[in-house]
């Protein structure tokens, strides 16, 4: 295990871009929480509050040609990888114009912006690990993984999901194939209501990295600079062909599991151990003169406008119409026609 020194070499420009995604994600998540309370969403809302520093640090290092398999708390990373906020509201409102056309919702959108490919998450935790490995294997077979600056695949997973069999199988396969996979583990201390001691028995989740043939790193998930530095090293190593990478960040989920959950099982003791990455980052950047009060206000203002515009457009768009659906799960025409 390598813990990256907090002393950051991350350029201020990147730190500011990172902060911008964190703020936009927080604003969008807050809006989704409000819409949930107003009963305006087609389903529940799952928020990444408290996890933005890690998630955005993952997404920000991705580029066209890469693969991202986000999980439920990756609004920040999705945005940093190029997701349009419009798709967020379209999907959460179940609009016909959205990526899943109301057939699936919220965090299940798989958005492609150009050749920035986000895999469409299925609920079954762990399942996206092999899918990301397969996408990378596909890239290798297409000859896209040659050289020392290759595309990477990043999969996001939680402390709970790491216990799933699919995660184990996928990690093992990634190690065997030595693929440029970056596994971003958000240990938010909770798997729904279950604490770490009932999810795993190893000393630290990063101990598994070596077992799978990964390089493992840890960081404080509430420290934006640590997240940026650590994810940056992991992604760079993967691109250079150094094989699969695992980053385990320690942080706390600052919301219910979904907005339907009051998270009353979070003890004051657990709560007291973790700060909120967003105000912490703002304070650090302000103290270091990277941004001032007016600059911050501008970022929040812009984020609110982006979110509001996206919400307004999505909510003005049509809902799916059962009468216009073909109700056929096949894509092949000869199978659809009822023979």
């Amino acid at each position: 295990m390598r813990t990256v020194p907090v002393a950051s070499t991350v350029p201020d420009e990147l730190r500011l871009a990172h902060l911008r995604w964190m703020i936009l994600a927080r604003v969008i998540d807050d809006r989704l929480a409000t819409l949930y309370k107003q009963n305006a969403l087609a389903g529940s809302a799952f928020l990444g509050r408290g996890q933005e520093a890690l998630s955005a640090a993952g997404g920000i290092y991705l580029r066209p040609g890469d693969i991202f398999a986000p999980m439920i708390r990756d609004q920040a990373g999705r945005l940093a990888f190029g997701e349009d906020p419009l798709d967020v509201f379209r999907t959460c409102l179940g609009r016909r114009t959205g990526n899943t056309r109301g057939r699936d919702g919220n965090v299940h959108r798989g958005v492609h912006v150009g050749d920035r490919r986000q895999l469409a998450f299925i609920s079954h935790l762990g399942a996206m690990v092999p899918a990301t490995v397969g996408a990378l294997l596909g890239k290798r077979l297409k000859g896209e993984l040659r050289g020392t600056d290759t595309p990477v695949g990043m999969v996001s997973i939680g402390d709970g999901g790491m216990a799933a069999g699919a995660a184990h199988e996928g990690l093992n396969a990634a190690g065997i194939e030595r693929l440029p996979l970056v596994v971003m583990v958000a240990n938010n201390q909770l798997s729904y209501s279950t604490y770490n001691d009932r999810s795993f028995a190893c000393r630290h989740l990063v101990d598994r990295a070596a077992a799978y043939g990964f390089t493992g790193r840890t960081c404080d998930g509430t420290d934006a600079d640590a997240c940026l530095a650590t994810m940056g090293l992991a992604v760079a190593a993967a691109r250079r062909g150094e094989g699969p990478q695992m980053v385990v960040a320690e942080l706390l989920r600052l919301a219910g599991h979904g907005e339907h959950d009051d998270a009353s099982y979070v003890t004051p003791e657990l709560r007291s151990r973790f700060g909120d990455c967003l105000p912490l980052t703002e304070r650090t950047l302000k103290n270091q003169g990277v941004i001032d009060e007016a600059g911050l206000a501008k970022l929040w203002d812009e984020a609110r406008q982006i979110s509001q515009r996206a919400y307004e457009q999505a909510s003005s768009e049509p809902e799916p119409d059962p009468a216009q659906e073909d109700w056929c799960a096949y894509s092949a025409r000869n199978l659809r026609s009822g023979l």
Partner: protein, 335 residues
Amino acid sequence: MRLQRQEPAERLVKYLEAIRLALGELLEHDPRVFLYGQDIAGTFGGAFKATKGLAERFPTRVLNAPISEDAITGIAIGAAQEGLVPIIEFQFADFASIAFNQLVNHAATMHWRTGQTCPMVARLPVGGTPGGGPFHSQMVEGWLTHHPGLVVVAPSTVADAYFLLKDAATCTDPVVFCEHKYLYYHLAADFDPRRAEHLPMGRAAIRRSGTDCTVVSWSGMVHEALKAAEVLAGEHEIECEVIDLRCLRPLDADTILESVARTGRLVVATESWPFGGVTAEILAVVASEAFQHLDAPPQRLAALDTPIPFHPALFAAHHPDAARIAALVLETVSF
């Protein structure tokens, strides 16, 4: 089990060889195709040798996988999204239960949920053989056909083993390809892919025409149905129409309904379990859509309702055969 040839001569193509031939041609002609599965690479060529020799010809595209049916399937799904056409091999269909989630929740839902296609083929060695026991003998179509989005095929002939595999690899939907283990080496036919004709995937074949009773089956059981039909014709002057479904999902209900309209009688024979499943589906379709044509209650014959036994004597008692099909047809015809 009735075979087309008891002692395959040199020029005959075995069912397994037809699969290997199709795999080799797919690898040769379609650069998107790759094979991934346990023990399929190297000189070994798989537990049943379906891929023997292919790794030597295509070393980077025939890959050994660890014992990870979930990941093997998930990897295929991810690769399919990158535009490849993965053909994965399960050592035995029974182990597809480990991949159930990836098949039914991930591959099968992909197109409907996201509009993206998920072209992939999962090859599953199915079916019972004496001594196979509870975990190396299962049929899996009962649970896999239940889920919308999967194509499930089960070839019973050498030609279909070849052509349906080719069709499966060009289909834009995920295909579960059920190959019968007993037929691998025991079924051989004079087969030349350049001369042979075949029906498209999704269509049932009438293997024997008849006017007295429709017998529907698929996979290995087709050969028992044909044997029963021969006995019934010779000894009882009963002419069965034997339908080989070939494809279980989508189901070619039209061919079944048209046949039942001619014969007025139906027996469905499978080596799967009796509860629910494809037999129940066919009986439901016929009962609701061809009720006016029926001269007798539609019947089904399945395996016994226990796990599949190990000892050959128990297995024989558990497994339907031609004699039992013939008995049920007689009962139906004399109703």
